[in-house]
């Protein structure tokens, strides 16, 4: 028996370590368009101590380690580009503590978005976290690792800005706590030092998150959804700016799609209005409809699309997954980029052109982050997994979208290796050198998710 496999079995048990072709096949394939890369081992640890032992083993044997959460980034960030050990973190799925008074939750790294949503709905209905529009099995840790955003992005920013503290297994095997938890039993703030930025956004190249504390926010009882239709993309940035000025809305997204034909060419601004009573919702809704958007309606430029019944919070379920089946092909990937809201019209124009060139039905849009401080613009491309040509076309469209994001002054979000290279080519040399030094310092053997953020 392979001595490394034997050692892994000793750490996690026979049921949770594999070198069989079936597990290697599953983890060699991306949900998106990234080419296959096969790992040598698949392991599912249950505890921080097991992760620590695996990392020490990997260091000793100089084997790559690729931490995996829900595996839903789509951009291939958990593909074992140099083989090695895929570390499936989803068995570490305990919600350790919900602190209602300080409004935070401590979770193990494998806790899914779905599990946290369910826990808060059932036991802490006055609290919520910023839920990304991802399938329920996306993990909390994976999402903050990629600087994800959720339905509280407009009022509170990126999900990675909501992290109070981390427990991390360093690339050399030490377990390290970051934030107030390093000096206190309370995981309530990311202070004092060192900064969480040493780990978030690095895609596991500087360490493996095993626990984290995430801020929770007041959960309003009712969520009203208005849809405002705008034909002229040039109007969108100022409309979004005016809506955010009210500080009365939740998630705010503008999007446009090629199908169905009835809405082709029309931008739909989805405005979420949250409140604890119908009276509160109505007040906010009237203010936005009349004081902010009234002028556009009176000018005949825009209008509301029917009405959507107000939903009790918790009844909504993200359905973005079904986008993957537009082509009846089970494939879907998007480039997301963080951009100034002002670039929205150009993002749409260029996105439609890219889709047209590659014969793909477009789905484009931007989610406002902060008070119009930025948006995450997405260029989304469905493809048919069974048709290599369709996959190739989507891949090319994605690469063009990465290039476009940088051309427009933006930053590709959770970039694929292709996008990472484009970013690093454009990056200030001293910034790049700092990245290289940090990686060398923390990961002297270069075992952590190699191929990602690889500074040449």
């Amino acid at each position: 028996m392979d001595s490394i496999y034997k050692a892994l079995v000793e750490i996690v048990g026979e049921d949770h370590a594999s070198t069989e072709q079936e597990e290697l096949y599953i983890h060699s394939r991306s949900l998106g368009t990234v080419e296959p890369h096969q790992p040598d081992y698949v392991v599912a640890p249950r505890t921080t101590e097991e992760v620590q032992q695996i990392v020490k083993l990997a260091n000793r044997e100089k084997i790559p380690v690729v931490p995996l959460g829900g595996g839903l980034s789509l951009t291939g960030l958990v593909m074992p580009l140099r083989g090695g050990i895929v570390l499936d973190m989803k068995r570490m799925d305990t919600i350790i503590e919900v602190n209602e008074k300080a409004r935070y939750v401590i979770v193990e790294a494998g806790v899914s978005q779905g599990k946290l949503i369910s826990c808060l709905e059932r036991y802490h209905p006055n609290l919520m976290h910023s839920e990304p529009m991802a399938p329920a099995q996306a993990t909390i840790a994976g999402n903050v690792m990629i600087h994800g955003q959720g339905d509280l992005a407009q009022p509170y920013g990126f999900n990675s800005d909501m992290v109070n503290g981390l427990e991390v297994v360093l690339p050399t095997g030490e377990v390290c706590k970051i934030g107030s938890c390093s000096v206190s039993p309370y995981w309530f703030t990311a202070h004092p030092l060192p900064d969480l930025g040493l780990f978030l956004g690095w895609f596991g190249t500087t360490g493996i998150i095993t626990k984290l504390s995430l801020r929770l926010y007041p959960c309003k009882k009712i969520n009203g959804v208005d849809r405002f239709l705008v034909e002229d993309a040039e109007l969108i940035p100022e409309i979004l700016l005016k809506i955010t000025h009210t500080e009365m809305v939740g998630d705010l997204v503008s999007s446009i799609q090629g199908l169905p034909l009835a809405v082709r060419g029309i931008h739909i601004i989805t405005i979420n209005i949250n409140g604890d009573s119908e009276k509160e919702i109505e007040f906010k809704r009237q203010l936005i409809r009349e004081d902010i958007l009234g002028e556009y309606i009176r000018n005949g430029d825009c209008g509301f699309m029917g009405t959507t019944p107000d939903l009790r919070t918790g009844q909504q379920r993200p359905t973005i997954t079904t986008v993957a089946d537009i082509k009846r092909g089970g494939g879907f990937e998007y480039v997301g980029a963080i951009l100034p809201v002002d670039t929205y019209p150009e993002c749409c124009r260029e996105g439609e052109a890219i889709s047209s060139r590659h014969d793909i039905i477009y789905t484009l849009g931007g989610r406002v982050i902060g008070r119009s401080h930025a948006m995450m613009f997405f260029w989304s491309y469905a493809f048919n997994r069974a048709d290599p040509e369709s996959v190739r076309q989507a891949r090319e469209a994605l690469h063009e979208s990465d290039e476009l994001a940088l051309k427009l002054g933006g930053v590709p979000w959770k970039p694929s290796v292709y996008g990472q290279k484009l970013i690093m080519e454009k990056m200030e040399p001293n910034t790049l050198e700092l990245m290289r030094k940090i990686k060398e310092l923390l990961d002297p053997n270069g075992i952590m998710n190699p191929g990602n953020w690889e500074v040449m």
Binding site: D15, Y25, R29, G114, K115, I117, S118, E121, A136, T321
Partner: protein, 396 residues
């Protein structure tokens, strides 16, 4: 068979592996797929299984024992069908069964599955016990052989042979007698219903069992059937019509509900206990019968029915479906679904976990022992609770 000849060739690649198939309706845990719960490796999730089946049929990977184990570890509980957001969700379990059929065709099935199927072919039951012992459970009860009574009481393999399940079969028989129901049994002439054979992908054997059973039912003049097992209920109700066998089929909880409602069963002795109910997959998700068992329990004086956090369409399977009660691909671990389920039942504070399926009952009873919870919780079939509520009277 190449991928091009596979019935679901135009569908199977459409699974995105979003993972909703692993969750219950309320998303409280990611382990509502019994095979994924047991192993917690992506390959054992429904999405992983579909990707592997496609890779195998497409010659990207070879057949191995491990692949067969993954394909056969699916308990056919239909949680994935319930939770999958895609339009093709109704076909998911059938995609897995079709792959099993191909393995059967090639003779490439796990040895324990082969044994299961051969036993049924030879003896009409998965245990390989003699056909001549099938009717032993009924001895000394005064239950008559079927000869034109209103109902055929169809017991199924587990109820006929498993020691604990035989007690249930007898208890239900006593309750039906007490209620004055006109019914008879087939005894040694009863044969396997074939439900698991079908789910294991042995189409020819299933067809042969179904046709033989249908002919036998017709020869006897059977019109109404009451089934002890939801597995039998499912096969006779949903599959036999494809072979020209249409009967009025009831699961016994439906009949008991009607008997109680009609005042034909005196349950006034009651049953004082906090009870939680485990939904059998072949009654619940396969046949959408969530109410009858609960109506029976709620009708019994003294029963305090409490729900587990995962119930009805979101219930966690015991892991015994698709032949797994025998093949046991999901056993041997604290993460075995039946053990997780028992811990969940205990968390309700119930002293009784009730079910309405002999397969579930044997799985859950074994789990109680494995967890060392014999002092905290007991597994009972609903018929046994009804019996205590009405037969106690007789003992007086």
């Amino acid at each position: 068979m190449a991928l091009a000849d596979y019935k679901y060739k135009d569908v199977i690649h459409r699974c995105f592996r979003c993972g909703y198939c692993k969750f219950p309706s309320n998303w409280m845990e990611v382990n509502n797929c019994p095979a994924y719960a047991r192993f917690r490796l992506e390959s054992y999730s429904t999405g992983g299984r579909l990707w592997l089946i496609r890779a195998w049929l497409n010659d990207e990977i070879e057949w191995t024992d491990h692949l067969a184990q993954i394909v056969y570890s699916c308990a056919a509980c239909k949680n994935c069908v319930e939770q999958c957001p895609y339009r093709f969700h109704d076909d998911i379990v059938d995609m897995i069964i079709a792959a099993r059929s191909e393995m059967v065709e090639r003779g490439s099935i796990p040895s324990v599955v082969k044994e299961f199927l051969e036993n049924i072919q030879r003896q009409g039951n998965p245990y390989g016990n003699a056909r001549s012992k099938r009717g032993e459970w009924v001895e000394g009860m005064g239950i008559k052989q079927y000869e034109g009574q209103e109902y055929l009481y169809y017991v199924g393999c587990v109820g006929s042979y498993d020691t604990r399940a035989k007690e249930t079969a007898r208890t239900l028989g006593e309750v039906l007698l007490k209620a004055g129901v006109s019914f008879g049994v087939m005894g040694n002439d009863e044969n396997c219903d074939g439900n698991e054979v079908s789910k294991l992908g042995e189409e020819s054997l299933f067809q042969s069992l179904a046709e033989d059973n249908i002919q036998q039912f017709k020869d006897l003049g059977v019109e109404k059937i009451v089934a002890l097992s939801p597995h039998s209920y499912n096969a006779i109700k949903n599959d036999y019509p494809m072979f020209n066998g249409s009967f009025e089929v009831f699961h016994y909880t439906q009949l008991l509900r009607d008997l109680i409602k009609g005042g034909r069963l005196d349950i006034s002795s009651g049953f004082d206990a906090r009870v939680t109910y485990h939904d059998p997959c072949f009654l619940g998700r396969w046949n959408k019968e969530y109410e009858a068992p609960r109506q029976v329990l709620n009708a019994i004086p003294g029963v305090e029915l409490v729900e587990m956090e995962r119930s009805r369409e979101g219930a966690l399977c015991c892991g015994g479906g698709g032949g797994n009660f025998y093949t046991d691909f999901l056993g041997g671990s604290e993460d075995s679904p039946a053990r997780i389920r028992i811990r969940e039942a205990c968390a309700t504070g119930a002293s009784i976990v009730a079910t309405a399926c002999p397969n579930c009952m044997t799985m859950l009873e074994d789990a109680v022992k494995a967890e060392g919870l014999e002092e905290s919780i007991k597994v009972k079939d609903i018929s046994e609770i009804v019996a205590e509520a009405c037969l106690a009277k007789r003992a007086d």
